[in-house]
């Protein structure tokens, strides 16, 4: 009698299990092996629990909500309806946004427990979003080809380009890990070393954010040249405004964004003081940057939802626009508060360590 599951089945189950659970769970399934069917059934029963538990543990719903909001807006979900449009803009943007959202949730469940380095993490998030949007578009194109949907359901190229332009912001929203920097200082004597790690992480984070801003500026610049430079109008103004805003932020981050080095022979009290003040300063900076990263979204929403003529008996669209902008502001505030709580905990830990 065979006491080992078929290698192909093991390989499939191994790929389906989240990486951090593979070793132990696959071993447990192997130990309980009775037949290929039993093995597959056990794996199928375990898998939803493992994935769902990881989604709950690792996903931040405020971040995912903001990412979905951003994507939906970039895909033209809030855009003004055109006179000849047979398909509502929101409906056309909804499916790709949902697919990208699910791909990001899936990505959360399957990323390892170790904090990925920036290139790896950017790659993972970008692939998840592109796959989500790509799959939804392939499905739409197939339905159009079968004459099940009108051709207008396929997203136009400018909307797809804008979504690509949103990728850096989507990543930066999630990369709030500058705080983990300091890790968990194990002893008073480690404080100086922890501060140095914090400085390195802040430096990396600033570099990453500057690169992300430059990428947005490049994509927005290309879109400006290709589509809006000649026609002008509010979109062109928003892109110019975004370019100027990100240019100023890049300069600020490059010149004032870092944390200062420790003075030589600094006492524990001095290290603590500097560490605490820099943690709070970096938190204020990131708080402000979260708002600035999403500022173009506010400009875009204002254009799409508030600048329509109030000719209808009930100004439903402008009211919807105001509610939406307030919701967006509330989401950003919630995210900042989530991070503020983490900073407060960190400052308390530092305070406890610095006590003689």
């Amino acid at each position: 009698m065979t006491t080992a599951p078929p290698p192909l089945l093991v390989a499939v189950v191994e790929r389906l299990l989240p990486p951090d659970a593979r070793e132990a769970v696959l071993g447990d399934l192997w130990e309980r092996y009775r037949s290929p069917m039993h093995f597959a059934a056990q794996a199928g029963a375990v898998l939803p629990f493992l994935v769902f538990a990881r989604v709950l543990r690792r996903s931040s719903w405020s971040i995912l909500g903001l990412q979905a909001f951003l994507l939906f807006a970039c895909l033209g979900g809030f855009a003004l309806p055109r006179g000849d449009a047979a398909v509502p803009m929101w409906a056309r943007a909804a499916l790709p946004t949902l697919c990208a959202f699910l791909a990001l949730v899936w990505h959360d469940a399957y990323r390892g427990t170790r904090t990925d380095g920036p290139p790896h993490a950017i790659w993972g998030e970008a692939v998840a979003v592109i796959l989500g949007i790509g799959l939804s578009q392939m499905l739409t194109i197939a339905l159009v080809a079968m004459a099940e949907l009108p051709a207008r359901w396929v997203l136009p190229l400018p909307a797809l380009l804008t979504a690509v332009g949103a990728l850096p912001a989507i990543y930066v929203l999630r990369a709030g890990s500058w705080l983990k920097v300091a890790g968990q200082p194990s002893a008073r004597a480690d404080l100086a070393e922890d501060y140095e790690r914090f400085r390195t992480r802040v430096r990396r984070r600033n570099r990453l954010e500057v690169c992300a801003m430059l990428a947005v500026m490049l994509i927005a610049g290309l879109a400006l040249v290709r589509y809006f430079l000649v026609s002008g109008g509010p979109v062109s103004a928003i892109i110019w405004l975004t370019q100027a805003q990100f240019a100023i932020l890049c300069v600020y981050l490059a010149t004032r964004g870092s944390a200062p080095a420790l003075p030589p022979q600094a006492s524990i009290a001095e290290v603590h003081q500097l560490f605490r003040s820099q943690l709070l300063r970096q938190h204020r900076l990131r708080r402000m940057l979260t708002w600035w990263w999403l500022a173009p979204l506010f400009f875009g929403l204002a254009r799409d939802l508030l600048t329509v003529p109030w000719t209808e008996p009930l100004p439903a669209r402008p009211i919807f626009g105001i509610v939406l902008m307030l919701t967006l502001a509330a989401c950003i505030h919630a995210l900042n508060e989530e991070r503020a709580n983490a900073v407060r905990r960190r400052v308390d830990e530092l305070g406890a360590l610095a006590l003689p």
Partner: protein, 119 residues
């Protein structure tokens, strides 16, 4: 003083299983023990894994991987043991359960079962 950690029913059962198994607490044995403690309810393996993850996040249990074992296709076992916070939480839960049992016994009599249609 630190706030006592509140435990769900299933978390209590899983912690009890880890405590009872001692050095031999890993996925397969924990599931078997939890199934035994939860009879007649059926317990799925996935729920045990999800709860073990949650308990680890709460700092109530600690886990580590053993050396690879041939009977598992060369894969390791993930062993679990209670952390001091887990022991405290389980003790608090056991005391609460004991108080509840005492109150029930005072009403229904020690070891007595309340008749299904009385009162």
């Amino acid at each position: 003083m630190a706030e006592p950690t509140s435990l769900g029913n299933f978390e209590q059962v899983v912690l009890t299983a880890i405590l009872a198994l001692g050095e031999e607490a890993y996925g397969v044995t924990i599931h078997a023990k939890v199934a035994e403690l939860s009879k007649p309810k059926r317990v799925v393996m996935g729920a045990v894994y999800a709860t073990l993850d949650r308990l680890t996040d709460k700092g109530l249990v600690r886990s580590w991987l053993s050396d690879p074992r041939p009977e598992r296709g060369g894969r390791s076992r993930r062993y679990f043991r209670l952390e001091p916070a887990g022991e405290r939480a389980l003790r608090d839960a056991a005391q609460a359960a004991r108080r509840m049992i005492d109150a029930i016994e005072r009403s229904w009599g020690s070891g007595a079962r309340r008749p299904a249609n009385s009162g």
